[in-house]
C-alpha cells in the first residue's frame, strides 16, 4: 500500500508542476534558513576542535556581585584569588583551566602591522582543550608559574608574521614584548569564545594578574568533569562552594552569584536573565521554548500556505477520493495516504533545502563574518533538518488530510467538495 501511495504521490507532484514548485519553494526556503541557523548554533555549542569533550566541560564566565543598598549589580569574570582559593580546591572536577577574553595586541613585521587577539591562559587549559597542534606544544604549568615569555600562535598569525608555520623555538614581538614560540595550532573560530585567540600566553604575564583578595577579575574558567555523568555533581559542588565564598568588601557587596554551566546554559543564564537574577535558573528551558516557538512560527507561514494549496488540490482530486471511499478506503486510510504524500513532498523540499543551506553556508563562509569560523552541515544538523522536515510535512498535511477524509463520497464522485 505504501508503494502505491508513493507512486501516486510522485505522479501528483509531477502533474501539478507549478503547485509543486510553489510548495517546494516554501518548504525548501524555510528549511534552508532554519538549517543555516542550526549550523551556526551547532558550530558554537557543538563538540568540535578544540572543545571535543564539551559534554564533560563546565564554564564559568562571570561572578555577579549584588551591591548593597540596591546599588545594582556588578558583573565580571573571576580573579586569580577566587580561582585558586575556591575553584581549584573543588574535589569533583578533574581539572580547572582559565583563560581571559581575548584582548587587542599588535605585532609588527618588517612591512606591516599585525593586529592580534591575545589571551592569557594557564597550563591546565591546554590539557582540557584539544587544540590541533601543527607543531610544538602548549606551555606547561611550570612555565606559567615562572612567568616565562612563551606563547602559542595560531596558524594565521604564524603565517602572517613569519610566512610559515614552522616557527617553533623562534621569537615573536607582541606589544614590544618578545615571546618564544612553544607551539602553533590550527585556527580556532571566534565563535568559540572560551577557546578563541590568535596568541596565547601565560596568565602570569597579564597586567591584570593581581594577587589581592578581590573576587572579580578577568578570568573565565573551564572545569573538566571526569565524565559526562559527573557534570551535575561538579555543578552542585560549585554551587555549594559559592555559599562559602567570603565577601572581601561586605560594605559594598551584599551577595555573590556564580554558576558552573555547560556551554549553552553559560550563555542563556545571562542572555535571558530578565527577572530574578539571584535565582539559580539557567534559563535553558526558556531558551529552548523561545527558539522552538520561533522556529514553529517561522514554519507556520509556509505551512499554512501549503495547507491552503493542499485543500484546493483536494477538490481537484475529489473523484479519486470518491473512488477510494467507494472501494473500501476508510477515513483514516485517506488521512494516511495524504500524509504520506505530503511528507514525501516535504522530504523532497527538505533535501532541496539542505542543498540550498549548503550553498548559503558557503556564501556566509566566504564573507567571513566571524574570524576563522567555518560553518558546515554536520550529520547532526542533517538529522535535525530531516526531523524539522517531517514536522513540517505533518503540520501542513494533517488538516487537509482530515478534510479530505471527511468528503462525502457521493459528492466527491460528482466532483464536488462538500463535506459530510
Amino acid at each position: 500500500m505504501l508503494l502505491s501511495y508513493l507512486k501516486i504521490a510522485w505522479k501528483v507532484l509531477l502533474r501539478r508542476k507549478f503547485f509543486t514548485f510553489i510548495s517546494l519553494f516554501g518548504v525548501s526556503f524555510t528549511l534552508m534558513i532554519l538549517l543555516v541557523v542550526m549550523a551556526m548554533f551547532d558550530h558554537m555549542v557543538g563538540p568540535s576542535t578544540p572543545t571535543k569533550r564539551i559534554d564533560k566541560m563546565l564554564f564559568v564566565n562571570s561572578i555577579r556581585q549584588q551591591m548593597t543598598d540596591n546599588h545594582g549589580w556588578m558583573n565580571s569574570p573571576a580573579s586569580i584569588h577566587f580561582v585558586d582559593n575556591y575553584v581549584r580546591k573543588l574535589k569533583t572536577p578533574e581539572k580547572v583551566g582559565i583563560i581571559t577574553v581575548s584582548s587587542n595586541a599588535t605585532a609588527f613585521t618588517k612591512s606591516k602591522l599585525l593586529p592580534l587577539d591575545l589571551s592569557y591562559t594557564d597550563g591546565n587549559f591546554w590539557q582540557i582543550m584539544d587544540y590541533d597542534f601543527l607543531g610544538g606544544r602548549a606551555f606547561t604549568e611550570a612555565e606559567v608559574k615562572s612567568a616565562q615569555h612563551v606563547c602559542v600562535l595560531n596558524e594565521s598569525t604564524a603565517r602572517g608574521y613569519f610566512g610559515t608555520t614552522e616557527v617553533v623555538g623562534r621569537t615573536i614581538e607582541i606589544d614590544l614584548k618578545r615571546y618564544r614560540i612553544a607551539g602553533v595550532v590550527r585556527n580556532v573560530s571566534a565563535a568559540h569564545v572560551y577557546a578563541y585567540a590568535d596568541v596565547w600566553v601565560p596568565f602570569t604575564l597579564s597586567p591584570q594578574y593581581f594577587k589581592d583578595k578581590r573576587i572579580g577579575g578577568e578570568f573565565l574558567m573551564v572545569l573538566l568533569a571526569p565524565s559526562a555523568a559527573a557534570v551535575p555533581a561538579v555543578r552542585e559542588e560549585y554551587r555549594q562552594m559559592m555559599r562559602r565564598v567570603e565577601i572581601p568588601n561586605p560594605k559594598d557587596v551584599e551577595a555573590l552569584f556564580s554558576y558552573a554551566d555547560p556551554v549553552l546554559p553559560s550563555f542563556t543564564r545571562q542572555l535571558l536573565a530578565f527577572q530574578d537574577q539571584t535565582s539559580g535558573n539557567d534559563n535553558l528551558e526558556a531558551f529552548y521554548l523561545i527558539i522552538g516557538a520561533m522556529a514553529l512560527l517561522f514554519m507556520l507561514l509556509p505551512a499554512l500556505n501549503l495547507v491552503n494549496l493542499n485543500v484546493t488540490r483536494i477538490l481537484e482530486r475529489s473523484g479519486e477520493i470518491g473512488v477510494r471511499k467507494a472501494f473500501g478506503a476508510a477515513g483514516r486510510d485517506l488521512v494516511g495516504q495524504f500524509l504520506v504524500e505530503n511528507v514525501v513532498l516535504a522530504l523532497v523540499g527538505g533535501l532541496l533545502g539542505l542543498g540550498l543551506a549548503a550553498g548559503a553556508l558557503a556564501l556566509v563562509n566566504s564573507t567571513n563574518p566571524i574570524a576563522y569560523a567555518h560553518f558546515t552541515l554536520s550529520w547532526r544538523v542533517f538529522g535535525w533538518g530531516m526531523l524539522l522536515t517531517l514536522l513540517f510535512g505533518l503540520m501542513s498535511g494533517v488538516y487537509p488530510a482530515w478534510k479530505m477524509s471527511r468528503l462525502n463520497p457521493v459528492v466527491a464522485l460528482r466532483g464536488g467538495g462538500d463535506q459530510k
Binding site: K7, V323, F327, G328, L413
Partner: protein, 248 residues
C-alpha cells in the same frame, strides 16, 4: 468488525457459480427508505418510502427519468450515503449502526461499483487501478493483489493492457477496466450507475454483454441504473422509479 465480516464472507472465495443455488436469499434489503435533502429554504424528497429486495444472483435494472432518485438509491445500496429514515440490510444484517470504518470494510468486501464516467485514476496504470480495492485488504500480499488484478483484467479481455494508462484507452476499454476493478475483490453485488451512458451503441452493447455474462456465468448480483429500455429488458427484473417513489 473483522470477525463479523469473516463470518459473512470468505474473502478468498469466489461468488457462487450459479445464482440459482441461492437465488432466493436477499443480499440487499431496503425497507421504508426515505432520503430527504434539506437546505436552508428547500426540502427535497429524493426517495419516498422505498422497499426493495435484491436477491442473490439477480440482475436488476432501475429505470426512471432524470432526478427520480435512481442514483441516490444506488448510493444508499452501496453504503456511500445514509438514508434519512428506513433500514438497509446487507446479508440480513442492518447496517445503520456501522461506523465509517465498518462500512468501508463492508463496501470493500461485498460491493463493486461501476460508474458512468468510469472514475479511473489517470495517474495509475490499468493494473494499479484494478488493484486499488485490494489495497484496503492488508492481509493480501502485493503478489496476490497483482495476480487477482491480472485475473480480473483477463475476465474483461484486457490482460494485454496492464501497463497502459486510462488516457491511452477507448471509452469501452476504460469501462472494462472499471468493471475489472469492481470484480477484483470478488464482491457479492455490483452496482452499476449508467455503465453504458458515455458509450456509443456498439461499445454499450459490449459492456452490457460483459455484465450479462458475469451475472450468468459467475453468478454476480448486479443492480444497474439505466435509461435504455432495451438494455433493461435484457436483465432479469426492471424496477421503475418516478419522483422518488417506486412505481413498478
Amino acid at each position: 468488525m473483522e470477525n463479523l465480516l469473516a463470518s459473512t464472507i470468505d474473502t478468498n472465495s469466489q461468488p457462487p457459480l450459479n445464482g440459482a443455488t441461492a437465488a432466493t436469499a436477499p443480499v440487499l434489503q431496503l425497507t421504508n427508505i426515505e432520503k430527504v435533502y434539506q437546505t436552508a429554504t428547500i426540502e427535497t424528497v429524493a426517495l419516498n418510502r422505498v422497499n426493495l429486495t435484491i436477491n442473490r444472483g439477480e440482475f436488476v435494472s432501475i429505470m426512471g427519468p432524470s432526478g427520480c432518485g435512481k442514483s441516490t438509491l444506488l448510493s444508499l445500496m452501496g453504503l456511500l450515503d445514509e438514508p434519512t429514515s428506513g433500514t438497509i440490510e446487507v446479508d440480513g444484517r442492518p447496517v445503520q449502526s456501522y461506523s465509517d470504518k465498518e462500512l468501508a470494510g463492508l463496501r470493500n468486501l461485498k460491493i463493486g461499483f461501476v460508474f458512468q464516467s468510469y472514475h479511473l485514476i489517470n495517474d495509475l496504470s490499468v493494473l494499479d487501478n484494478v488493484e486499488l480495492p485490494l489495497l484496503y485488504r492488508p492481509k493480501l500480499s502485493g503478489r496476490e493483489r497483482r495476480q487477482r488484478a491480472v485475473a480480473a483484467l483477463d475476465k474483461v479481455g484486457l490482460s494485454a493492457r496492464t501497463g497502459h494508462f486510462p488516457s491511452q484507452l477507448s471509452g469501452g476499454q476504460r469501462q472494462r477496466v472499471a468493471i475489472a476493478r469492481a470484480l477484483v475483490g470478488g464482491p457479492e453485488i455490483i452496482l452499476a450507475d449508467e455503465p453504458t451512458g458515455n458509450l456509443d451503441s456498439v461499445m454499450g452493447e459490449e459492456i452490457m454483454d460483459l455484465l450479462l455474462g458475469l451475472n450468468k456465468t459467475e453468478g454476480v448480483t448486479i443492480v444497474m441504473v439505466t435509461h435504455d429500455i432495451q438494455q433493461a429488458m435484457k436483465t432479469g427484473r426492471v424496477v421503475r422509479f418516478f419522483d422518488g417513489s417506486q412505481v413498478g
